[in-house]
Symmetry: C2
Subunit: 222 residues, 2 copies
DNA sequence: TGATGTTTCAAACAATCGTTTCCATCGAGG
DNA sequence: CCTCGATGGAAACGATTGTTTGAAACATCA
């Protein structure tokens, strides 16, 4: 089982370095030397650096999507035919997001990777994630649609991305923010702590009143 | 005035390429060839690539901070001694963010750069921005503090970063999201449109009920 | 054991990176 | 006029990048 060991060591090292520095800023030599494997091992086992990046994501997203599908199955069965309340949907997603990386490594790494995938947005990664894991997200949004029938479709679309931005942004930049918070307010913030704080904010954001109709001119009322 | 022309052409080209591909993924040769200037011009006028990156940010952030300070001066004068309502603070910030890049280029580039600065977070950039422009942000948060006296300090700190994440995340990934929205809901979304949608969400997020008290439980590994 | 297929390893590959050097060019001041 | 500091331009620098190579080491099974 020396091969699996090498593959695992590469993935373990790569995901941490990617999360810390980004993809382009992390060379294969840095990864392989820190993982104590040969330089050629990456190209041998994964084929290319791009494939390694995708493999890092798969190791998180594959168990997540599988488990999340199961959780949604349970939810739909429990509310047979009916509507699943919004808070229950959000709660289930948060729980799943928390559980999956906990089995392997830190949630921080997972969130940082998601943030990188969104911002660096080097075509191939974005496309890969969308095509590979878009279905579970679409299933989730459909359930959210039924839970918030009063919201226009486009409004719900944007609000879901608003809160997605909040979560990814906060959790991926957690370290830097935590340092500031700890220094200024003297309280040490855990991930679970942050999620507890996020919950009412996310719910309030999704339930916010609809924006006023777009004004024809640019007359601004305060 | 040939030198200013070269410097400006480099900055104009660099900010667009940086926003599109990221910093590490954009080579000086790509910038200089597209800007039709000599390769050595970057190192001659700016000193290094890192300095060029900082210069790109300065060109946005310098006018922004200056104008925003002025806006805050006006607000404080208008509510002499009193408290500035939260919505007025947010409105003023949004208006300033909208105005500054409009004079030069697109808001999209500006937001994409902010998103990159936050996620890529290659030490030097984060530190540069924090040290150079942290004061205006601190002034703003202090005004927000007076506008939301019922919020515990730490809670307000986190919520401000929550909504900051929402805005940067949404506006920096606007292109990709806009494509999806346009395809699925057939409506073309402008930046002003998005800000109109963001407003009630941000206000609701900041005014959300406080989270329930933390349950005494096991510690969490970061 | 000997043969076979897989994995590891050191070395080199070509390409690209940021940076530097050296010289030509230009314009203003003595 | 000539000089001199500033700028533009071509070429090369050394370093680093992802990838490939060919042989050694290993495991597996007849």
């Amino acid at each position: 089982m020396a091969q699996t060991d090498t593959v695992t060591r590469i993935l373990d090292t790569a995901e941490v370095l990617f999360a810390e520095r980004g993809f382009a800023e992390t060379s294969l030599r840095t990864i392989t030397s820190k993982a104590r494997v040969n330089l050629a091992a990456v190209n041998y086992h994964f084929g290319s650096k791009k494939a390694l990046i995708q493999a890092v994501f798969s190791r998180y997203l594959d168990p997540f999507t599988e488990r999340f599908h199961g959780v949604l199955d349970d939810l739909e069965a429990r509310h047979a035919g009916g509507v699943i309340p919004l808070e229950e949907l959000l709660e289930s997603m948060a729980r799943t997001v928390l559980e999956v990386p906990a089995e392997r490594h830190s949630l921080k790494v997972f969130m940082k990777l998601l943030g990188l995938a969104y911002s660096q947005a080097q075509g191939h990664l974005r496309r890969y994630i969308q095509e590979e894991y878009g279905s579970v997200f679409m299933r989730f949004t459909e359930l959210v649609r039924r839970a918030t029938p009063e919201l226009p479709d486009s409004e719900r679309f944007w609000r879901l991305h608003f809160v997605l931005g909040t979560v990814i942004f906060t959790l991926s930049g957690l370290d830097a923010l935590r340092d500031i918070a700890e220094k200024d307010y003297g309280e040490h913030v855990t991930v679970r702590d942050l999620i507890r704080r996020l919950r009412p904010v996310v719910v309030a954001a999704l339930n916010a009143p609809l924006p006023e109709a777009p004004v024809a001119s640019h007359a601004e009322a305060s």
